[in-house]
Symmetry: C2
Subunit: 284 residues, 2 copies
């Protein structure tokens, strides 16, 4: 950080950022940190459009690479989820340098593909946490503030409450982790407390994805599973007959993975920070 | 088959069978084969209910095990897809005997989890093909007739037209195969022509699942991928910008898997038989 203002780069490896986020987030940061306001740079790629994505694969990959490899930036904040990170993750990680390795990365949901790839590559400061777009949620300034509090000052209050430095942790959207299994992006989570959350999926899909995750031999080496919030669950016809916690407990029991209870993460304004690995000190 | 009538057992490892199927399918079989009408036995479990499923896991597993291990049956026909096969597949395969190994198995969609497990266990006569419930589709008697033609007489006309005995084949629903990757159910498909189809998924999900499938090192050993029909694709917001063939070609190119064109399979009445491995002669 070189003693100056913290500099955060926002890039969108998946879906396009809503333009008002680029107004609201810097204003929020100025209110939160009047004396040391972080500089938040929204890469123009955040607002590009290519079908489903914020620009084509090369555009999205290059924006992330440019910011990550730029020594002047201290952190990379993923603009939002949606879909598209898996399309660029392997390419991106293969082109990152030492400057990228020294940065903090924050995001979740679809960005889990990138968090996985970065963590697998040994990056020390990768965290599940709110994306910039979360500022637009009801009460979303709390979410964006939490991500800033982690990037700016490593605030312990931003952490998921069970994260205490005693055990390694990781957090994923259920569907995203499922679709990384058996690929070069799957990280080694042996000994980690694995926190999982979901949004907008039917119960049968949550069940199927948890079958998938808990049937994986590498995943079975985790210290245990904690279930975050599963929100906006879509209708199941017929009624599934079990809720998300019953399903998670079922698969933990069947797979022999310890069930460790509920985690304070999810697709909402209360979504907390979960560092990958052990929570590290400020990267300087 | 002991020279008598072919005996087919219908079991439902996933969702509950519609009761009228048990009327329509035997009537169809009697019309198709007046002189050698196969005996079609619908296990009572097909009509059980347990939340989403046709009975709880143990009920569904036991019905399949009982029929498969019964020497008097020649074939096991999966009642329908839906969801639930992955919950019982490993248990079932672990409890099957030599009598089970000598049978023919036909199904698709969710039943792909069982086809995968049986094929992985070395069962010689496992085939993707219509389920009993398909008789209720528009033109669905053609689908049910095709499954019967494979089970009763190994009719070459029932086969997907590119299946010729020269190359091994396998066929899966895209989502189902994705969710088997990295589990003990994943079959060795090295050298196989892999045919894939999908129903009722958004394009971004098809893209993500094809990322997953084509990023798997074992899958990359297939002889190539053929794309079946992707039907009832749900809306993508924004428009995805690519159709299913463009997406499949993209992932084949990126992964180095040969793109072999379109396959005549799908969630419809035209869904053809695709044997797992090489098409074998009648199992007697």
């Amino acid at each position: 950080m070189g003693g100056g203002r913290l500099k955060i780069g926002v890039v969108a490896p998946a879906s396009r950022l809503s333009p008002e986020v680029a107004e609201r987030v810097p204003a929020l940061a100025a209110r939160l940190y009047p004396n040391r306001t972080p500089e938040i740079v929204f890469h123009p790629q955040c607002f590009a459009t290519h079908g489903h994505f914020a620009g084509d694969d090369e555009t999205r990959a290059q924006a992330l690479i440019d910011v990550a490899n730029d020594e002047s930036y201290d952190a990379v904040w993923f603009a939002r989820g949606g879909y598209g990170s898996c399309r660029v993750a392997e390419t991106v990680v293969g082109r990152l340098t030492g400057a990228a390795r020294r940065k903090t990365y924050v995001g979740y949901s679809d960005a889990g593909a990138l968090l996985a790839a970065l963590y697998r590559a040994g990056f020390p400061s990768v965290a599940h946490g709110p994306v910039a777009q979360d500022v637009l949620r009801d009460g979303g300034e709390a979410a964006a503030s939490r991500a800033l509090a982690w990037m700016v000052e490593r605030s312990p209050q931003a952490l998921e409450p069970t994260v205490n430095g005693a055990r390694k942790t990781a957090a994923f959207n259920i569907t995203i982790l499922s679709q990384l299994l058996g690929t070069p992006l799957q990280p080694d989570l042996a000994g980690h407390v694995l926190m999982l959350e979901e949004v907008s999926e039917a119960m049968y899909r949550i069940d199927r994805s948890l079958f998938h995750i808990t049937s994986n031999a590498e995943i079975r080496r985790v210290a245990g599973i904690m279930l975050g919030r599963c929100s906006a669950i879509t209708p199941n016809d017929p009624d599934f007959g079990m809720n998300e916690e019953e399903v998670a407990r079922h698969w933990c029991k069947k797979s022999g993975i310890p069930w460790l209870g509920r985690a304070d993460i999810g697709h909402d304004a209360d979504n907390k920070i979960v560092p990958f690995g052990l929570p590290n000190a400020l990267v300087t």
